[in-house]
Amino acid sequence: MIKIWSMKKNEDAATKKRPKTSAAQIRVQKDLTELDLPPTMKTNFPDPTDLLNFTLTITPDEGMYNGGAFTFSFTINTNYPHEPPKVKCMQTIYHPNVDLEGNVCLNILREDWKPVLNLNSVMVGLQYLFLEPNADDPLNKEAAEELRKNREQFLYNVKTSMRGGNIKGVTYHKVLV
């Protein structure tokens, strides 16, 4: 066998024992403990020792979703940050970029995810969806159509849905706080 050990001695004599914590875990700890969230966003950990499963509640203080509280589940797997966190909306809401199952159309959650992004960027991205719903990337096609063609009606529908109302046969969750 080659003598790697001698190379090692020359290179760095004072190597210490290496950490045993997984890279994904350290990265999640780093992301979470450096979160810098505005008062409109709040995390909740059902089990404070489990950092990989939690929820985020967004309460926009402006825009057409002002007055609602929207909750998303975050699931992080051991391949983070190679893979993005899995994020779903836990309520049925009327939004062009969120479907009735809670899937979210946000580029950095799928095709534009990069390991340099972190949980803070995902959370800020989610909040942005409530300030500027985007009719060009629809997941709820009817909501997107309405936003594009009849903004007044769309605003009315948003208000109705947030009260827990019914739009075209779909009953939405009451999200008003």
């Binding site: 066998m1 790697i4 950490p19 350290i26 979470l32 909740n44 190679h82 899937n103 629809p138």
Partner: protein
């Protein structure tokens, strides 16, 4: 035929005259690029053929090639791990398997086949996950060679071998040779844990798996892949609820296939097939037998050179691009200073037995050579004190008054993160 001729002193009863004639051309005399520590002749042959214990991870496309190459080069004590069973689609390139083997564990079939064909070679298979095995298992090998298809498994074995390195024990440093292929492209690299750049150091070089914007999938599908993603990402959770999608279950793939076909018909898209469905949901890139052969040969060549010191080994990254012509490039991938696996270092932190967490944090913020603003602390798997987010700060605040001793055992590890740290810092807590 196995004859009882004792050649070169290092032969065993199953060796026949001139069995290793060609390999011995390299081992019987030094060459211009031989390592000075190389001892030509019987000793090195004895090590290669009777003492060296090598672990092969993966018995798939690369694994079959690797296993055959190693056995024919003269490695005789080979261990093999694979968690998969043989699928009919493997047979075109995984040449140790036959149609009758379909459904059987790859590790076991491959081991049986090689032992039958190459006399005197002992292949010890393990049908299961690499994560089933602990440090003691990995410590018994001289070398580890990987032919894997997942980033996750590579990260695991890389971190495990880096963590295995014990400054008191030279034997704990196990060279890792990693091969990988994707269609016509491939790579082989030599990782000397803690000495050279590790797998985690190069994680940002990876391409992300192909994904499509979810809105395209939902509204404007144009490709057969969009229809398949529609079935797996949107329709599966809708129709099957919490049931987990098992990409190896034919019923599950069949279900996705039928949904995708219906979707494709609606949008007049052609090309949704069973195998494409399986390919998209398993994120499979068609495997090319000749790419596997080249990469496996390169990996085994490195294993041979490292085990025998007979020639300079790869430093440290070889890549092959066979998409247009044949292009290869070799370079030294550098260690990343702040690599979460091999970078940084653990700081020994001797503290008094009655120190509280708050005192430890104060020390971290005040100590000249550390100076961390607002550190957050955790043991592997459990937060001690987090500065953020507010709920975790509140939940961990009572720990501030507790003694460190109650939370961390003697010699235990504490991971410190802070915005002023490039990545993280590990403390090894000892009590005085």
């Amino acid at each position: 035929m196995a004859t009882e001729i004792n050649v070169n002193g290092a032969a065993t009863s199953s060796d026949w005259q001139d069995r290793y004639y060609h390999v011995d051309q390299i081992l019987d005399r030094p060459g211009p690029r031989t390592d000075p520590s190389f001892l030509a002749g019987d000793e090195v042959k004895d090590f290669l053929r009777n003492k060296c214990k090598i672990l092969v991870i993966g018995a798939g496309g690369l694994g079959c090639e690797i296993l055959a190459n190693l056995a024919l080069t003269g490695f005789k004590d080979i261990h093999l791990i694979d968690m998969d069973t043989i699928d009919i689609s493997n047979l075109n390139r995984q040449f140790l398997f036959r149609p009758a083997d379909v459904g059987r564990p790859k590790a076991i079939v491959a081991a049986e086949y090689v032992m039958k064909r190459v006399p005197g070679v002992q292949v010890t298979p393990y049908y299961g996950k690499i994560q089933d095995k602990g440090d003691d298992y990995y410590l018994q090998f001289n070398l580890v060679i990987c032919g894997l298809d997942s980033v996750e498994a590579r990260r695991w074995i890389n971190a495990t071998l880096v963590n295995l390195v014990d400054p008191e024990n030279p034997e704990s440093l196990k060279p890792l040779i990693d091969g990988g292929t994707e269609g016509f492209k491939g790579q082989a690299r030599v990782i000397l844990p803690t000495v050279s750049s590790c797998y985690e150091c190069s994680l940002d070089m990876l391409n992300k798996p192909t994904t499509f914007p979810i809105c395209t999938i939902a509204n404007t599908p144009r490709l057969p892949e969009h229809c398949i993603e529609w079935a797996s990402v949107l329709e599966w959770p809708r129709a099957r609820g919490d049931e987990k999608l098992d990409t190896d279950d034919p019923e599950h793939i069949g279900w996705l296939y039928s949904i995708a076909v219906a979707r494709a018909k609606e949008f007049k898209i052609e090309g949704v097939t069973w195998s494409l469905t399986q390919g998209v949901v398993k994120n499979v890139i068609p495997a090319i037998a000749s790419t596997n052969a080249i990469i496996a040969a390169s990996c085994c060549n490195e294993a041979f050179k490292i085990a025998t010191s007979s020639a300079a080994y790869l430093n440290n990254y070889f890549m092959l691009i066979g998409t247009e012509g044949v292009y290869s490039y070799t370079f030294e991938h550098e260690k990343r200073d702040h690599c979460p696996v091999c970078g940084g270092e653990a700081l020994e932190m001797p503290i008094s037995r009655d120190w509280t967490v708050e005192q430890l944090i104060e020390l971290l913020t005040e100590k000249q050579n550390i100076q961390i603003k607002k550190p957050s602390l955790a043991t592997p798997g459990k937060p001690i004190y987090f500065q953020q987010p507010p709920q975790l700060e509140e939940a961990t605040r009572p720990n501030l008054e507790k003694k460190v001793l109650e939370l961390v055992p003697d010699g235990g590890e504490v991971v410190v993160t802070a915005s002023t740290l490039p990545f993280s810092l590990s403390l090894i807590i000892t009590y005085i």
